[in-house]
């Protein structure tokens, strides 16, 4: 604790450095998150919302933290932001890096006129829960056995504008059984824990 915190650079993802960045991100994230992601999961987010991805780099230009998100109209309604992945290298935790990254992502979404931001986090991941709740997210629902490891999740939501909730969506609670999470979390398969250990 006596040591000075390392000087970090916070940068936006740059598609010109795709090969280098994606490799580093994959390494960082696969260590932290329980769900596995293929190269195309990264592409899905980065090709469409690379400007909502932020990185924390140390003095040696090595990646120590990353946040990956997206922003699109939710079922034709509200412009919904989604924080898909968040990870900080273990030895750099507890310095507010994750909070800083999430704030950058939220600010970028606000700039792009987002109505709301949502994400899921494992119930057992108290660090992530605290982080998001401090930023004003509320738990909107609990998702039973949401992850591959059998853990449940909370859906966390942050409204950025008034009147977002007025949009209604169709739902048939007794529709025939369906294959998996009908709520279609913004990421379809291998639900994104959104928030590794931070």
């Amino acid at each position: 604790m006596n040591q000075n915190p390392p000087v970090l650079r916070y940068v936006r993802y740059d598609s010109a450095r795709e090969n280098e960045y994606v490799a580093a991100m994959r390494q960082l994230i696969s260590k932290d998150l329980s769900e596995p992601y293929s190269i195309y999961v990264y592409r899905y987010f980065l090709y469409q919302w690379g400007d909502l991805c932020f990185l924390a780099m140390d003095e040696k230009d090595e990646m120590v933290g990353v946040v990956v998100s997206k922003l699109e109209p939710h079922r034709g309604g509200a412009l919904r932001g989604y924080i898909a992945m968040l990870a900080v290298r273990e030895e750099f935790r507890g310095q507010g890096i994750a909070t800083k990254l999430v704030r950058m992502a939220i600010d970028a979404m606000i700039e792009r006129d987002a109505d709301e931001i949502v994400l899921e986090t494992e119930i057992t991941n108290t660090g992530a829960m605290k982080l998001y709740e401090r930023l004003g997210f509320l738990r909107s629902k609990r998702l039973h056995r949401y992850y591959l490891n059998g853990n449940s999740a909370y859906r966390l939501v942050l409204y950025l504008k008034e009147g977002v909730s007025a949009i209604r969506t169709a739902f048939d609670p007794f529709a025939p059984p369906h294959p998996t999470h009908m709520e279609a979390p913004t990421v379809p398969v291998g639900n994104t824990p959104g928030n590794g250990v931070i």
């Binding site: 598609s15 795709e18 090969n19 696969s30 596995p36 293929s38 190269i39 195309y40 999961v41 592409r43 899905y44 090709y47 469409q48 939220i106 605290k130 709740e133 401090r134 930023l135 004003g136 997210f137 509320l138 738990r139 909107s140 629902k141 609990r142 998702l143 039973h144 056995r145 949401y146 591959l148 059998g150 449940s152 909370y154 939501v157 942050l158 409204y159 950025l160 504008k161 008034e162 009147g163 977002v164 909730s165 007025a166 209604r168 739902f171 609670p173 007794f174 059984p177 369906h178 294959p179 998996t180 999470h181 990421v187 379809p188 398969v189 291998g190």
Partner: protein, 765 residues
């Protein structure tokens, strides 16, 4: 089938694989060259194939995603095949151990883990089930059976009966509403759970096995007993599952009771078994048809497995106590109480119960849904009403108002039966899904209420209903159907709020507002019940005035009596909830006001109170009645603005005293409404007993709420004392209190729905 699906080999056993027929064209070079011309980030993809879909793709050669991945250096043959020999001799101890390991895996599957991580890791089961056996004889461990009957008879009988039990469980669950992966993983990986084979074969085999065990006089008696009770369990459990919906006819708990009695024998002899871990292998996952990543073997302890099975049996036995229909409110109370057991009954029980609740539009296999709906209407709003008695069969003249009433009511039944039954059935979902489902159905009920109101207007004209003069002087009508629908909706709104507490949805700083809102909904509901009661009283008065036929009146009187008692009960319950909510609201206001309540949101949070209120009220925003409380009013009311600490303390104390009384009254009334003479509709089930085990659950729940009341009284007194010592706390001199919110499952969280803050004096200050 692909042309090179088989490899041709010259005999005797030279294993040189060769390609067959249609020769595919090697395009490696062209492909590689073409791909190398693409820029970084440039994709060539099917137009209809989106990157969104691509997210679901599993990456080959990645150990986390590729279930067929074999690590470098791993021997291919060993990686795929276990050198475990299923014909090798086993000691009786090992067989007992194996049986218990299999039971653990079976229960883990019941708990929601996939077969690929549980039973399908067993090499014995793998051999039995692949290739898919067509006959009992095909279902064996090896082509040449082991010479030991302990394996070829006893273990095989156990395994086969276990698989068949899984077949029954699987069949029941997949025909009901459940959530794949949340409640249960139905995936069979292209295997079959012997569904085509008749259970009688399995029973015969088990009998033979028991006979053999009994004849082994040289075997240690303890081990013979251990094997015997395990085989018996398989027998009884299979019989119980085979019975399925037939319990409606047999009304027999025998099979599950026998299961329970074998369980104690198994529990006592677990220690006699020697586990055989090498008989289970993750390698089998590499051969299962699977579109999911590889996952580790799930290990649960024999204690947990036996406890799960014991609960399943007990739930199944207790469930039978409610198979006699005793009127709608008793039916609903029994279902909700049984399904609110902790831990929640297993998915098999919940699915079985769904089917028992309603199949082919019949409740409990006996009462048509229409009757159930009519009984509910009679209990709440329409005792002995012409609306429920009108019948198109008896009145043939279409111009007769009674004919038209009957037609209108038919329309009502068509529209409302399903949603009404669904409100009961929703209790069978997992707890998270109950709340989410009710959040959606409450909106449907808002629309249903409006439709019912239309019908009410027609019925009011057709039945020539006399209006009532209300206290304010205006005249009004009873609107029975929409009143009933509104009652349904208010119950659902209350449930959404209360299950929010249960599922730990609310942040500490929201608790004051949520308990305020709960009490607001309760008082709205109480007002609504008053209105219903006023009209029922008036209807009864009219009835007595016009009563000529004495014998008809005794029936009418019983119907009214039941209705008044139902209203009284619901009222007592609401008063208890309301008073407790008022007390907790007041308590949380004080803790918030003096900044001793922990707070989840930081000072520099993005959201505002207004936005957070909107988000929290989202399920209720589309609802027209009760109208959403505007934010300003909510803020004023829920913060008790303008009230001094003393007034709020007084409010809390009074309310908690009232709550304790009300819960006491509720407890003394009991869970169920007793039949008085000939009850309404077909509900009279004679002198049969009430479900006593379920009544115990209900009582425990009320007592837990009472305990929470006492806890709240103590917290209120602690705050009173602190305020007495420091009447005007400030930033410099804050209240000397420490507050924690007890988590679900902790000792001081007496009840899921009542979040009583733990308030104590700060130690070192």
């Amino acid at each position: 089938m692909l042309p090179n699906n088989e490899v041709r080999l010259p005999p005797p056993r030279a294993a040189r694989a060769a390609q067959s027929a249609a020769v595919p064209c090697d395009i490696t070079t062209q492909f590689t060259e073409a791909a190398s011309k693409l820029k970084t980030g440039q994709l060539v993809k099917d137009e209809l194939f989106t990157l969104f879909e691509a997210v679901g793709a599993l990456e080959i050669m990645d150990s986390k995603m590729d279930s067929g991945y074999i690590a470098p250096g791993e021997n291919h043959v060993q990686a795929l095949e276990d050198d475990y020999d299923v014909r090798q001799p086993l000691t009786p101890k090992q067989v007992v151990g194996l049986m218990d390991q299999l039971l653990c895996h079976e229960m883990a599957w019941h708990m929601g883990h996939p077969l690929s991580q549980t039973l399908f890791t067993s090499i014995y089961l793998d051999k039995l089930l692949w290739p898919v056996p067509k006959t009992m004889e095909d279902a064996r461990f090896d082509r040449v059976p082991s010479e030991s009957p302990l394996i070829s008879l006893v273990l095989r009988a156990y395994c086969l009966a276990l698989v068949k039990a899984c077949d029954f469980v699987h069949a029941r669950i997949v025909t009901e509403y459940y959530y794949e992966e949340e409640d249960f993983v139905s995936q069979l990986y292209n295997r079959n759970l012997l569904s085509g084979l008749d259970p009688s074969h399995f029973f015969r085999l088990l009998d033979q096995a028991v006979e053999w065990v009994d004849s082994q006089e040289t075997m240690d008696q303890d081990l013979r007993d251990a094997l015997r009770c395990r085989l018996l369990l398989r027998h009884e459990f299979l019989s119980a599952l085979d019975e399925d919906l037939e319990v409606l006819d047999t009304r027999s708990t025998d099979n599950f009771v026998s299961c329970l009695s074998t369980l104690s024998g198994i529990t006592e002899t677990v220690a006699h078994g020697t586990p055989v871990p090498e008989a289970f292998s993750l390698k089998i996952q590499r051969r299962l048809a699977s579109t999911v990543p590889p996952r580790p073997i799930v290990h649960i302890s024999p204690e947990d497995a036996l406890a799960h099975l014991k609960r399943l049996c007990q739930d199944a036995i207790d469930m039978q106590q409610m198979l006699d229909y005793k009127g709608p409110s008793n039916f609903k109370t029994a279902i909700w109480s049984l399904l609110s057991r902790k831990p929640q009954p297993s998915v098999y029980i919940r699915c079985l119960l769904q089917a028992l609740i309603v199949s082919d539009m019949t409740i409990l296999g006996a009462v048509p849904v229409k009757q159930f709906l009519y009984d509910d209407l009679a209990e709440l709003v329409l005792p002995s009403s012409v609306l429920l008695q009108a019948n198109t069969d008896e009145v043939e003249l279409p111009s007769d108002p009674r004919f038209q009433i009957a037609q209108k009511m038919e329309g009502f039944v068509k529209r409302f039966s399903q949603p009404f039954v669904d409100t009961v059935r929703a209790a069978c979902l997992n707890r998270c899904r109950i709340r989410r489902t009710v959040c959606h159905t409450v909106v449907d009920w808002d629309n249903l209420q409006m439709e019912a109101e239309e019908l009410d207007l027609d019925l009011q004209r057709l039945s020539d209903e006399p209006p009532l003069q209300m206290k304010g002087g205006e005249t009004t009508f009873s609107f029975p159907l929409s009143s009933w629908a509104y009652n349904q909706k208010l119950i659902q709104i209350r449930r959404i709020i209360q299950m929010g507490f249960e599922l730990s949805i609310y942040a500490p700083e929201e608790l004051a507002g949520m308990y305020w809102y709960l009490s607001y909904i309760c008082s709205t509901h109480l007002g609504h019940l008053d209105r219903i009661r006023t009209f029922t009283v008036a209807a009864r008065k009219r009835d007595l005035i016009s009563a000529g036929d004495r014998s008809a009146d005794s029936q009418k009187s019983a119907a009214f009596h039941r209705s008044f008692r139902t209203l009284e009960r619901v009222t007592t319950q609401l008063i208890a909830v309301d008073a407790f909510a008022i007390a907790l609201h007041a308590l949380y206001v004080l803790l918030t006001r003096h900044e001793v309540l922990p707070c989840a949101a930081g000072a520099d949070a993005y959201s505002t109170d207004r936005l957070r209120y909107e988000l929290r009220m989202k399920p209720f925003i589309p609802i027209s009645l009760p109208e959403l409380v505007p934010f300003e009013e909510f803020q004023r009311e829920s913060a008790l603005e303008g009230d001094s600490d003393a007034i709020i303390l007084e409010r809390a104390s009074k309310a908690i005293t009232e709550a304790r009384k009300a819960w006491d009254v509720l407890l003394s009334q009991g869970a169920f409404l007793e039949e008085a003479g000939s009850g309404s509709g077909s509900g009279s089930a004679g002198g049969k007993e009430f479900p006593s085990a379920i009544e115990e659950d209900w009582k425990r729940d009320v007592k837990d709420a009472m305990r929470a009341c006492i806890g709240a009284s103590i917290s209120i007194e602690t705050v009173r004392k602190a305020l007495g010592n420091n009447p005007s706390p400030s930033a410099q001199q804050p209240l000397n209190l420490e507050v924690t919110i007890p988590e679900i499952g902790s000792k001081s969280r007496w009840h899921e729905w009542w979040v009583v803050p733990q308030v104590s004096e700060k130690k070192n200050q």
